[in-house]
Subunit: 354 residues, 2 copies
DNA sequence: CTGAAAGCGCTTACAG
DNA sequence: CTGAAAGCGCTTACAG
């Protein structure tokens, strides 16, 4: 009697088909999958065998409606194609799968409005969100977080569990490294203004530079992309710096290409430091960069979210992931000075929107 | 009267809350969102205003259960961190959003078993699948495609709508390009055996080379990664070739790094061609590569899937995306010959699992 | 143009 | 250990 509903012959078998075929109630079929320990061994075996035979698999939508648990999470990032986020997603997605969750993906294209919209659209189908490097105002994040469990990556908001990749100390170390090589004026090629990571890296750079008597020129960019990095080369050259700390590896790569195009050699004429560590070892010459453990960040964020979704997470949870400066081949002694241009320091620390 | 169910005060407002507040039936509330044209202007306005006030938004899970349409699709790829797939996902995801679909993401880690498992897990929650560069046997794909609308990217199966990035002609052109520069022995650094794209590229390479009297050495690799590309350098050098066509840009990058590490300069001593075009312009020196229009592939695949899900798609739909060889700076005249090693050609065309 | 009612496929107290 | 029944929040013929 493997027949389906006569009026709906082509659709997938439902719990009722299995119940009928196994001559048990639908509740029993349900339990055979959800709480087999409440049933006798034989019943479980019978139901499962029947289900197998019919090709039955519980309908997750129906289950979600009934239990209120969708078994889904969402991962929202500013740009999937940025290797940092790609690696993070890879780790997070795999971890979520292992924990039994399917993951929605949202690419906000660096736009706060789109990000906001994605969170709204996805909210109805997920049990929780991981929001990476949000470009949203804090207030807005808090509103969204009121409705569902949230985990933030690289955004330090009280009362929301968060995973912070602590690159500040490594940028400080990078400045020390450059100073010890003899650099006196360096550039910080900035990431998105709204980015917590950007502020952290910039602040650490400025603070350490001040302490060591190194001058920092801040160079603003449109977006953390190869093109933006490349476009910043002009300003970099005009600024008369001998080294640049880039917001990330992608921009560092753009800078390297820009410099190469001008015949400026790295590290002979100019030193560069990047951040993330996923692209860095693949450059030629291999890039000195801050290792940010992207995949691990994604995994740990999922763990945090699972905790939060199960209700046993203090909202104050704050995991800090240490990073390391990996010195490869793009940092060296600066070239002998040709001019001694004096510039005023742009290094005023800004901490708005902490 | 904005009150919720007294016994469930904290949960989100439901259709009943809005119906009660607006003093209409639930059917009317439903229509105000789903088929407003069936209602009077005033009723629609009233319901929407009330919903807005209460913060009501239709529950997608309930809607999905009722209608059988989940409003979700899934995008399954072998490796999110490969720039080709990342860009493809970015395009596809954006397009899906514009069409009103949310997208699940699945990374199969190049493993057929995982891929199979992901398709099974996700099936219950999606209306359709986009399966990119599947490593699954054809039979298995066909089985999955029997249950839901499927669109394949870079896999040419009859009876399943597919989007093919036609890189063959560009590889042929690349071989012609190398031959015209004077190369007589080139390597093809292969991608995954199961990959349709790999076979297409290899076959085009071999065929064209044969026609032009150029010898092709096939070099197998473990996986399309930077590391695998780098590891292939040994064999590349031993083979005594003067140029390499890599399966993709990521491998080309590995090869470039490997050669650089040996002091072999590109393109002076050795020429390289890659594929995908997303990474290529960011290399230094910029890589000669086949532009594969990754993002567009994702977008078009989504369009195809939407067609299929709406039922108005002939299963035989087959979109072919043309590619172009973009000559940058990594291909040049080969160095003067030092030896004239004779090797037998490994160039036996294989077309299994078409 | 609007409403009453059945139904989508599950889960879970409540009884026994 | 198992079943009858209510309920999750929608949509959609069917009437009027």
């Amino acid at each position: 009697m493997a027949s389906r509903h006569p009026d709906n012959p082509r659709s997938a078998p439902t719990i009722r088909d299995v119940a009928d075929a196994a001559k048990v109630s639908r509740a029993t079929v349900s339990r055979a999958f959800g709480q087999p320990n409440l049933l006798s061994r034989e019943t479980v075996a019978l139901v499962r065998a029947t289900a197998e035979r019919l090709g039955y698999v519980p309908n997750p939508t129906a289950r979600a409606l009934s239990t209120g648990r969708a078994g889904n999470i969402a991962l929202v990032v500013p740009d999937i194609t940025n290797p940092f986020f790609a690696a993070m997603m890879r780790g997070g997605q795999a971890r979520a799968r292992d924990q039994g969750y399917a993951t929605f993906i949202g690419d906000s294209d660096e736009a706060p409005e789109l990000e906001d919209m994605l969170l709204g659209k996805l909210a109805g189908q997920v049990e929780g969100f991981i929001l990476a490097s949000s470009r949203l105002p804090s207030g807005r994040i808090l509103e969204h977080a009121r409705r569902r469990p949230f985990v933030l990556i690289n955004r330090d908001l009280h009362n929301i569990p968060r995973l912070l990749v602590d690159t500040g100390p490594s940028y400080a170390q990078a400045v020390e490294h450059l100073a010890s090589l003899g650099h006196r004026t360096v550039a910080y090629v900035a990431g998105p203004t709204r980015s917590w990571s950007n502020r952290q890296r910039y602040n650490a750079t400025v603070r350490t530079a001040r302490r060591l008597g190194v001058e920092v020129v801040r160079i603003a960019t449109s977006r953390p992309s190869f093109e933006a990095g490349q476009a910043s080369t002009d300003e970099l050259v005009r600024a008369g710096v001998t080294a640049a700390l880039a917001f990330d590896d992608v921009m560092a790569q753009g800078i390297m290409a820009g410099l190469a195009g001008r015949g400026i050699s790295v590290p002979g004429d100019f030193s560069i430091v990047g951040c993330d560590g996923i692209l860095a070892p693949t450059f030629y010459p291999p890039l000195t960069s801050v290792e940010a453990h992207c995949a691990e960040a994604g995994e740990q964020a999922v763990d945090l979210l699972v905790e939060a979704m199960q209700g046993n997470a203090s909202a104050g949870r704050r995991i800090v992931l240490a990073t390391e400066l990996v010195i490869r081949t793009t940092t060296a002694v600066p070239p002998p000075r040709r001019h001694n241009k004096r510039r005023h320091t742009h290094a005023n620390i800004n901490m708005e929107q902490s």
